[in-house]
Amino acid sequence: MKTLNSDNQQLFDKEIAGDDYYYLRSCIRQNFFPGAEKVFLDILTQKLGRKIIDDEHHTTCSGIGYHTDIVPFDTFQAIIARQFALMKEKGAVNAVVSCITSFGGYHEVLETWKEFPEEKRKAQENLKKATGRDFDVPKNIAHACDIIYKYRHEIARLAPYKLVNTHTGEPLRVVDHVGCHYAKIFPDKAVGGAEKTTVLTAMIEAWGGQPVNYPERRHCCGFGFRHYLVKPNRSYSISNARKKFESMQPYRPDLILTNCPGCNMFLDRWQYALAQIEGKTYSDDKNGIPVLSYEELAGLLLGYDPWHIGLQMHQVDLEPLLKRMGIAYSAEAKYRNAKGIPMTPPKFTGCLE
């Protein structure tokens, strides 16, 4: 089978800044996988020797509020303008966005400003009146996965591990899931465009794995904003996630790789919920298909301790994958606190007891 690879790169050769970044954190990533953001910053500064500003003053971009329609577009624009103002004050011009919805939102606002300059003036005025701040439009806006993509070969050179099954020597079969707001709203802002987004498959290839295509690759994970956030609506969310799992199951993937904080969480949790409801998993075992984000995966390959980068926060246990990849880890260090004192572990991990 022909896999999706980096062959149409020239069509969507997006510009990704090489250094001197300003980090914009993600509500969901910090909340569910704080270790992922930490390891991203660590890789960038310690392994790759790049500079990135982690500014405590920036806030949510309010994207979840915007897409649930409780934040008006004017407010959304002004909040984004405030982030830009903070960047300006720090002398930063290259934004790196951790959240996919923020990424889509920043671009939506910038495209609007290009087409309707009066909207930009309104945002300037609102921000000035509210905070006294001024902003400049950043020179470059990249998603954090773009940065890892840009340095994927360098990471491969530094990495002691590969996406390879150490028992068989075969490359691991990896399916990817790209967050909708990364490529679907503005295809030219995504590596590889909207239909054959290659930002993750290129990483998989560079790190020794085999990217595996599956029919519902482009389908949404099912977050649906208001559909997940209001409890009685969550069936929408799980229904769409199920569609993806059913579609990828026949390919027997070793791993699901994501670039969106929300998707990473949903694809992990919904496997558990579906197993509880339907009594089945989409893997050959009771554990489920492991789900990792690009930062988590890069961290693992670079030899970070899986429990320091927060992999114990996943419902689908990563241990079987670690074993398959021959990654050294300590099982009993998994549930310890910062002082090294053992904690009571979760009731169970994986999808079925």
């Binding site: 089978m1 022909k2 999706l4 149409n8 465009g193 054959k196 295509n213 029919p215 482009r218 026949p250």
Partner: protein
């Protein structure tokens, strides 16, 4: 007797050939410049013509003009045109220079590159083919087979690929694909009576004489099914069969279908060389990159540049019979121009 006037025709497809044939019979000297090593243009690649399944060879046989006043130059592409002292000078890459009293453009069209419509997977998924691919297979007398070598049990024919699509820069209707879809559906059904054939369309634009009868025949005799909804995406299954997603718009519900093969009805585009020909003179292209007529109602064959005329599908996509009509009417316009100039 005055020296015979000379007309250069760019393009040796059926429009150029037919116009050349009419003009030589009217007493002019004609030179046809063809970029390939063979005349006949796109018609060489088609297996049968709608709506009567007649053979393209029959058309070609009738219009091969044989006349001492007609010269054919092959393998040459005219790159630029210059008007000097009321005459035209034509240049190709190798600095071939040709003089003419009038110029007739019959550059025809090219077929949309279906791989640009990434979501349909042409060039990526092996069982996705185009209408041109199908004509080639059919013409070679081969059976339609999947990449695995089996006769497909279900084929989905997709309309409007590269037509009526602002995303790929083609906002217009290519006009002849709908009827091609019906024709090819019937051809598949004749070839493989067991095969289910579906047409996914947005509007069925069957504008010509006897076209609707073919549609009726497709439904009645061949049980071909028509679903109103534009294809949104194609994905490949593990066994290389395909999954497609569209809306059944008449029901207002999303629809998912598995098919062994998908046939894309590719739209038609103006020839790329047209842009070059517009340099250094008053020729103009319209918003769809076809040649702009002086007046699209009354003077369809006349360009914006005095002495340059157009014939056939370099004006807009046309069927074979329309192209021939257009060629003949262009010949009349050329004759009128040269006769009036004489006086």
């Amino acid at each position: 007797m005055t020296k015979k006037k000379h007309i250069a025709i760019i393009g040796g497809g059926i429009a150029g050939l037919e116009a050349g044939s009419v003009l030589t019979r009217q007493g002019y000297k004609v030179t046809i410049i063809e970029k390939e090593n063979k005349t006949g243009g796109l018609l060489n690649h088609w297996s049968s013509l709608f709506p009567d399944f007649s053979l393209p060879g029959e058309v070609l046989a009738r219009i091969q003009p044989e006349n001492p006043d007609l010269t054919l130059i092959h393998n040459t592409c005219i790159e630029s045109i210059k008007k000097e002292n009321g005459r035209f000078e034509l240049f190709d890459k190798r600095h071939l220079k040709l003089y003419a009293d009038a110029l007739l453009l019959a550059t025809g069209l090219s077929v949309f590159d279906a791989s640009l419509k990434e979501e349909y997977g042409y060039g990526l998924f092996i069982n996705v083919i185009t209408s041109s691919d199908f004509e080639r297979i059919h013409k070679a007398g081969q059976k339609l087979l999947t990449a695995q070598g089996d006769p497909p049990k279900r084929v989905a024919i997709i309309h409007c690929v590269g037509s009526r699509d602002a995303k790929v820069g083609n906002g217009y209707c290519s006009k002849v694909c709908c009827i091609t879809g019906v024709k090819q559906a019937i051809a598949i059904s004749r070839m493989l009576p067991e095969c289910e054939v579906f047409n996914f369309y947005m509007d069925l634009r069957l504008y010509g004489s006897k076209y609707d009868a073919l549609y009726l025949e497709a439904q009645k005799r061949h049980q071909i099914q028509f679903i109103r909804g534009r294809l949104s995406e194609v994905s490949e299954n593990q066994d290389q069969s395909l999954q497609l997603k569209a809306e059944d718009t008449l029901q207002g519900r999303p629809l998912r279908m598995q098919a062994d093969m998908i046939l894309l009805l590719t739209g038609l585009e103006a020839a790329r060389q047209n842009e070059n020909l517009c340099k250094n003179n008053h020729l103009e292209l319209d918003e769809n990159r076809f040649f702009k007529s002086e007046n699209m109602q009354y003077h369809r064959n006349c360009s914006r540049q005095e002495g340059i005329f157009m014939a056939g599908s370099c004006i807009c996509p046309m069927s074979v019979n329309e192209t021939l009509d257009s060629a003949r009417s262009a010949a009349i316009e050329v004759d009128n121009y040269l006769t009036q100039k004489e006086r």
